[in-house]
Symmetry: C2
């Protein structure tokens, strides 16, 4: 019998609370629960989250480092405002970084585990799209699959710095732009086919092609955005 079972009754938390607080706050900010420019006060958040100011303060600083919050000395933290230009720039940045990740992955070559994972992800996407449509209910699964593909490729790039920057480039509060990617079948199908081509190029060690394909891929996502200074 585990003698420590009484010491960890239910939650069995092994991670510092400041990390979960940071995750919770990050999700809330990205979800747009705090309007642009809204101040985040330590005491209020402490009460809301049921912890003291200390972990809240750490979490706020982490979010500021992620670019989601602004910090003014003696004035605390507030939600950063993003205008349409910054959103579009972020996609340009992401395009360049994703292209770089694909290039690095192609130059390094994929380990067997990474190759298997990427192929499994693509197979899952194939299945989701095999019926010639993407029903509303399958969107969450598709979104997860899509994110998993990109994340797996980030990992395969072998550059931690690049992965971290890619994470930053996608940390944008939805409230300030309402960007929504298009989910028409044709567009989704096209994007998934892009993924197939990209993986193929990576497997062939064709770094230049992998980079260009990925760059164009993200650029096309940007072009397909709706709600950002649209006509």
């Amino acid at each position: 019998m585990d003698t420590r079972s009484e010491a960890r009754p239910a939650g069995a938390r092994r991670l510092p609370r400041s990390l979960s607080v940071a995750d919770e706050l990050r999700a809330a900010v990205i979800a747009g629960e705090f309007g642009p420019g809204e101040r985040l006060q330590e005491v209020r958040l402490s009460k809301r989250l049921g912890v003291s100011r200390t972990p809240v303060r750490l979490a706020l600083q982490a979010l500021a480092a992620d670019g989601l919050l602004e910090h003014a000395p003696r004035r605390g933290y507030s939600v950063r405002r993003f205008d349409a230009t910054e959103i579009l720039n972020a996609f340009e940045i992401r395009a360049a970084l994703e292209g770089l990740a694909a290039r690095f992955a192609a130059e390094r070559g994929l380990e067997e585990a990474a190759r298997a994972r990427l192929e499994a992800i693509l197979a899952e996407g194939d299945a989701l799209l095999s019926r010639g449509e993407l029903p509303e209910g399958s969107r969450p699964a598709y979104i997860r699959m899509n994110a998993a593909f990109h994340e797996a490729l980030h990992g395969a790039s072998g550059s931690r710095m690049l992965g971290e920057m890619l994470r930053l480039s996608q940390n944008l509060p939805l409230s300030s732009h309402h960007h929504v990617v298009a989910f028409e079948y044709r567009r989704v199908r096209r994007r998934h086919d892009d993924h197939h081509r990209i993986l193929e190029a990576v497997l062939r060690r064709d770094a230049r092609r992998a980079e260009n394909l990925m760059c164009d891929h993200v650029a096309s996502i940007k072009a397909g955005l709706t709600g950002v200074a649209g006509p």
Copy 2:
């Protein structure tokens, strides 16, 4: 006379100590004062810096967010190890980001103040190099001028996210690579001429050319590095 001179006797600090602590620690880590993998303990640093653990803790987290430190729960912070590959990758990343910054600046166009500042910086560089050599004593001035040029262009890009990522891409502890840029007059002259061409392209609003020139510029810096897995 400053009426507040008595209220702020000596230090005249208006910024939180945690910020200066972070700057000090960052400089120390980048300067390589803490060998790769070395643990940074809160109490030790508190005593060394003469502050309590609280600001030290904040500073450590900030440095971890910058990618300079690693953090393991219940085990604290330690200096990240960078191998030669990560260093070289960082230059590739920086090349892509600097290229993007030049492109953004060209697309937006420079405001009068930015144009004047960049031209002043280049003029300073011209003066430093006008004698056909770069004496040892002028290197610090040249290094500052060079950094100022890039920073001014980052600002002119109009993307805060990009500027932040560029900062991250240059946050590397020297101890783990000993990268040293070449200071032979011919190379320095060439790099300075690159800057002239880049500014010219930006002023002409030739975004594509500006991006390519900048990208090649940084790539040539990478190629000129000494001490990173060199032959």
